[in-house]
Structure formats: structure tokens, C-alpha cells
């Protein structure tokens, strides 16, 4: 049976618990915080500990993907410099932890990051270039989550429906295509299947 690496597993576990907590909160801000629809809010609100543990333990991907790509990240950083908004402490801490983990993976290996976070090479390189101060200041001013759930309600349910021990295999097969950008697009032209 496949087991995700421990740091990825802990990050997925804590982030899913936090997502569920936000979905259960009476202020009903989860949809805007995470950019998810009402069905997905209901799904994560009702997600059991067993399901959270199963997703975190089995999948070799992050269950949260970055909100900003290489094109929108510079604008977010600029807005952070000029803006006066201040994120709530809990949200800021969550964003710091998530963004720092993302940047660490991108610095360690861009190729690993593209798989784990469903991002293209250019985005991974943009996050790898962020220094810690930029991560902290972006997290302080961002009033929404920096990483969004990878799966909507139907996507997560489809993986959870699969038998224990085989979910990573099915998740890889169900992974949607991302639009090729830059170098990938040029190569696809030559290597068209």
C-alpha cells in the first residue's frame, strides 16, 4: 500500500482539518476564502476523520494547489506592497505555513512541484524565487487562502469511493490536463501524439 511522505501527509492532514473547520464556521466565509462552490463547502463540512486520514495517507499529491500562477503572482505581490488590508491571524498563519511548504518543494525540485501542486514549470520557478519576507508579507495582507482545494466535491468523492490502497493510482489516472504553456506548448507541437 502506498504511503505519502510524512511532511506532505502532515500538510494535507492539517490543511484539510482547517478547511473543514472553516466550512463549519457560522460566518459562512469558506466559499470566498477557498474559492469553492456550495456543494464543495457542504462536502468538506461533512468530511469525516476517516476520509481525511485516507486522503492524506494515500495520495502522493498536495490536496491544495496555489491560487496564483506565474502570471498572477507578481500582481498579488504588488497589491500586497500597496494594500492596507490585514488578514486575520489564523488565516495569515495558515497561509505562511502553506506558502512556505510550497516554496520549499519548488526550491528542492521544480519537477516534483509540478506534480505535487498541479502547476507548470514557470509557476514553480516563480514560487522558488520568493524569499521568506515576501511569503510573510503576502500572507499578512492576503484576505483569502493562498492555496485552494485541489478537488471539488465530485472529484474528491470519486477518489474516496475507490478501495483503500488504490486511491493514489486512481487519483493519478483522473488527474485533469492543464493547458500547456511556454516550452511545454512548443514541445507538444513537435511531439503530438
Amino acid at each position: 500500500m502506498f504511503d505519502a511522505s510524512s511532511s506532505l501527509r502532515v500538510a494535507n492532514l492539517t490543511s484539510l482539518m482547517w478547511l473543514r473547520e472553516q466550512c463549519r464556521a457560522p460566518d459562512e466565509q469558506a466559499a470566498s476564502l477557498f474559492g469553492i462552490d456550495d456543494d464543495t463547502v457542504r462536502f468538506y463540512r461533512d468530511l469525516s476523520d476517516v476520509a481525511i486520514e485516507a486522503l492524506s495517507r494515500e495520495l502522493d499529491v498536495s490536496l491544495f494547489v496555489p491560487r496564483f500562477d506565474n502570471k498572477t503572482l507578481p500582481a498579488a505581490l504588488d497589491a500586497e506592497c500597496s494594500g492596507h488590508a490585514q488578514a486575520a491571524t489564523g488565516l495569515a498563519l495558515h497561509n505562511i505555513a502553506s506558502l512556505q511548504a510550497l516554496c520549499d518543494v519548488c526550491r528542492h525540485s521544480v519537477a516534483e512541484a509540478t506534480w505535487i501542486y498541479r502547476i507548470n514549470r514557470e509557476t514553480a520557478e516563480a514560487y522558488a524565487a520568493l524569499d521568506h519576507d515576501q511569503v510573510v508579507s503576502l500572507s499578512r495582507t492576503l484576505t483569502a487562502c493562498a492555496l485552494l482545494p485541489r478537488y471539488d466535491a465530485s472529484g474528491a468523492a470519486r477518489i474516496l469511493d475507490r478501495p483503500a490502497g488504490s486511491r493514489a493510482l486512481f487519483a493519478a489516472a483522473y488527474e485533469p490536463d492543464t493547458a500547456p504553456t511556454g516550452e511545454a506548448a512548443r514541445r507538444s507541437f513537435h511531439l503530438a501524439h
Binding site: W115, S166, Y174, L191
Partner: protein, 211 residues
């Protein structure tokens, strides 16, 4: 000059990883473009350089002889497909995708690195001038991506390898029992409480009902 040196060291790093993963010399040469002489000079003591002197696996038909082998081929290719199409260089995508494949099948990896290499060359025009003989398609029932022969019909309604696996696993009842699920839930609560750093919270978590 600096960029050229950086690229060369990057290729050497890929070669080291590929050799660690069991690639034969000829495959490492094709992937990295490093000469046999330099490989022997740098990695002289590596057993992969002297073992596996025969021809590398290239038969595509063999992938369709057994369900397990075909499933493993699809699983490896799915990782490679996404990493490569997200802009990663093919040599690095090959190594990282194979490492992910091995991690997903720690006890029963059916594909060797050389076989995985042959799958990539059968699907893409990478490291070869030969026309592709395999193509990745999406199952119209479950949406999974799987490999099929180039000549196969797009409208084939035969269940895909993932549909068949799902059916087989559910038939054999590999879904964990309720008792096992309760234990998992309990361990999660206790672990999270411990991570929060309070023993009292851990005790309370262990005694509270499972959702």
C-alpha cells in the same frame, strides 16, 4: 560558458539518479546524451553500468499480455504525462515520474526503468525517430487516462483497465472494515492532539466519539 557547465552537471545528476533507479547504460546515454566514456569515468563503480548488457525492452505487445503490467504502464505514464506537459525537461520528467511510480508500488513495481523508458518512446517522439505505437486516451466511463494501441477505436466501449480494476477490487472486498476505519479515525484524532502539544487534549481526543 557557466550555463553550459550548469547544464552538463544537471545531466550528470539525472544520469546518477537514473542509474540509481536501475537504468541500463544505453538508456542513460540516450536520455542524457552523455557518452559511454564519460559515464564510465564518472560512475565507474556503479553496477548498472556493467549489468544489463543485452537489448533493452521494446515490445509494446507485452504490455497488453497481463492486466497488471498494463495497469502499471498506465500508472507510470500518467505521472510522466503531467510532469512533462507542465514544462519539465523530458530527462528529468522521466526520472521523477519513475520515482513516483516506484513510491506508489513499493512492494510490487512491475516496470523496470528501461521498460518505463520504452513506454515513453512508444507514446511520444522522444529519444527515437520511430512513429508512436501507443496513445493515451480518456475512458468514456470513468474518465481515467490509459494507454491503448494507436490503431484502437476511439469509440471502443470495452471497460478500461481502471474500470476493470475498480470492479475487481470491489468484488474482492478490499474496502477496510468499520473496525479498521475506527482505528484510523482514532489515530488521527490522537495524532492531531499530540501535534497541538497537549497530553490532556490527546486523552480527550481518544475518548471522544468518532464521526
Amino acid at each position: 560558458m557557466a550555463n553550459h557547465t550548469h547544464q552538463h552537471f544537471r545531466r550528470l545528476d539525472i544520469a546518477r539518479e537514473a542509474l540509481d533507479l536501475g537504468a541500463r547504460r544505453s538508456v542513460v546515454q540516450l536520455i542524457t546524451g552523455i557518452s559511454e566514456r564519460e559515464l564510465r569515468h564518472v560512475f565507474g563503480a556503479c553496477p548498472s553500468l556493467t549489468a544489463n548488457c543485452g537489448g533493452r525492452p521494446s515490445s509494446v505487445d507485452k504490455l497488453f499480455h497481463g492486466r497488471q503490467l498494463h495497469l502499471h504502464a498506465c500508472d507510470f505514464y500518467n505521472s510522466f504525462h503531467h510532469i512533462f506537459h507542465r514544462g519539465v525537461a523530458p530527462d528529468e520528467a522521466m526520472v521523477v515520474a519513475y520515482r513516483h511510480y516506484q513510491r506508489r508500488h513499493p512492494d510490487d513495481a512491475r516496470l523496470g526503468f528501461d521498460r518505463a523508458f520504452s513506454i515513453v518512446t512508444s507514446v511520444c517522439r522522444l529519444w527515437t525517430a520511430a512513429a508512436p505505437s501507443l496513445k493515451p486516451v480518456r475512458c468514456r466511463t470513468c474518465g481515467a487516462r490509459f494507454l491503448t494501441l494507436i490503431g484502437a477505436s476511439e469509440h471502443d466501449d470495452t471497460p478500461c483497465t481502471y474500470c476493470r480494476l475498480a470492479k475487481r477490487l470491489s468484488r474482492h472486498g478490499r474496502v477496510p472494515t468499520d473496525e479498521a476505519q475506527d482505528q484510523v479515525a482514532l489515530s488521527t484524532r490522537v495524532r492531531l492532539a499530540v501535534m497541538a502539544g497537549t497530553q490532556g487534549a490527546a486523552t480527550r481526543a481518544a475518548s471522544s466519539p468518532i464521526q
